[in-house]
Assembly symmetry: C2
C-alpha cells in the first residue's frame, strides 16, 4: 500500500481538522498514513516568528476562529473551542505521540488529545489531560508519562523536528509523499492522498 | 438569484485560480457573482507588510510555486508562470476592472489579463498587455484606458479598497456572502457558494 507522511503539531488548529479525518480519507484512497508529530515552534522562530501567525495578525486570527467554527459544524465535530492561552505548549504531547507512533497507538492518542483541546478547551500540557488521552488510546498512563521524560525521547523529538525543517516544512499539518511532494494544510489532504495513490499506480 | 461578492487582486496568484473557475462553480450552485477588484497593497501595509508574504517568507514562496504548478496542471490551466517582478503593479488593471464591473465586461477582462500574467508571464502594468485584455473583453481599448486615468475612477478604486478593509478583508481572493460571512482563498470557493445557496433557501 502506498504511504504518505502526516506531519502534525498538537497546538495547530488545522492539524486537528486533518487528524480527525485523515484515516477515513486515506482508507478510501487506498493509502497508508504514517503519523509524524513534531514541534512547529523552532521552525516558526527560524522564520522570525516568536508567536503564532494567528496572534501576530489579529485579523487573521479572528478569521481562523470563524473558519474553524464553520468547518467543525460541517464535519460534525464539536463546536470549536480555542484553549487559553493559544497556542498551547505541545512539548509533552508530542513526546508521547512519538512513543505512540512507534507502538501503534499514536493516532488514537492524538485524536483523543486534539478533541479534548479544541472541542473542550483543555490545557494540552496538563498531566491529567495527557493521562486521559493515553487511557483513551488503551495505554497504562504512568509508565508512558515516565518514558516521555527520558533523554532518549527528548532527543528523538528534537531529531524529528529537525527532520521536518530539513524537509522544508514551514507549517502544520503537512503531508509528504513518497516521491517527495509537500502538501500544506488540511485543505490539501484530498490532493495529497490522490497524488500518493496515483504515483503508486505509475510505479 | 442569491449573490456572492468576489473580491480579487490582480497581482494575487490565488485570485487567478479563483477567477478562472468561479463562474462555472457559481452557475452550478445557482449563485450570481459580483466581481470586486481591489488593491491588497494598502491592506498589507496596514498589517506591517511592505511586500508579499510569499517574498517575506521564501520557504512559503517556493511552496506556493509548487502548489500552483500542481493545481494548474490538475485544472487544465497553462503551466504556471511567475511574472518578473512578483508581485506586479496592479493599479491600472484594477482601475480598468472597476469600469468593467459597471459595464459588464469586467470578468472577461479579468480572466484575459490573469491568463496573460500567470500563464505567459506578461507584465501587468504594460499598456499593450492591458489593451490586449480590453480587446479580448470586446472593448475599444483607447477610450477605456483614458477613462481609467480619470480622477473619478482613481477615487472609486480607493473607496473600493477602503470598503474591502472595512469588511475585514486581509487577503485575496475573498468571498463575502449576503449574510456577511467572509471566506478567504480559492480553497474556500465551493464552501462560500454552498453557503450562499443554502442561506437563500432559508430566507
Amino acid at each position: 500500500m502506498p504511504k504518505v507522511q502526516f506531519w502534525y503539531e498538537f497546538a495547530s488548529t488545522y492539524s486537528y481538522l486533518a487528524a480527525m479525518r485523515i484515516e477515513a480519507l486515506a482508507k478510501a484512497a487506498g493509502v497508508a498514513v504514517e503519523w509524524k508529530p513534531f514541534l512547529l515552534g523552532p521552525i516558526f522562530r527560524a522564520q522570525g516568528w516568536e508567536n503564532s501567525p494567528f496572534n501576530l495578525y489579529p485579523v487573521k486570527g479572528r478569521y481562523m476562529l470563524r473558519d474553524l467554527a464553520r468547518i467543525c459544524a460541517e464535519r460534525g465535530l464539536p463546536p470549536f473551542r480555542l484553549p487559553e492561552p493559544f497556542p498551547q505548549n505541545s512539548l509533552y504531547a508530542a513526546r508521547l505521540a512519538l512513543i505512540g507512533a512507534e507502538e501503534g497507538w499514536g493516532p488514537d492518542f492524538a485524536r483523543a488529545l486534539f478533541q479534548r483541546q479544541f472541542g473542550e478547551g483543555a490545557v494540552l500540557a496538563n498531566k491529567a489531560v495527557l493521562e486521559d488521552a493515553l487511557r483513551a488510546a488503551g495505554q497504562d498512563a504512568g509508565p508512558q508519562m515516565q518514558r516521555a521524560e527520558t533523554q532518549e525521547i527528548k532527543e528523538r523529538l528534537k531529531a524529528q523536528t529537525a527532520e521536518a525543517q530539513a524537509l522544508g516544512i514551514f507549517g502544520a499539518p503537512t503531508l509528504i509523499t513518497q516521491d517527495g511532494e509537500l502538501f500544506w494544510g488540511d485543505d490539501r489532504l484530498e490532493q495529497a492522498l490522490a497524488w500518493t495513490a496515483k504515483s503508486a499506480v505509475k510505479q
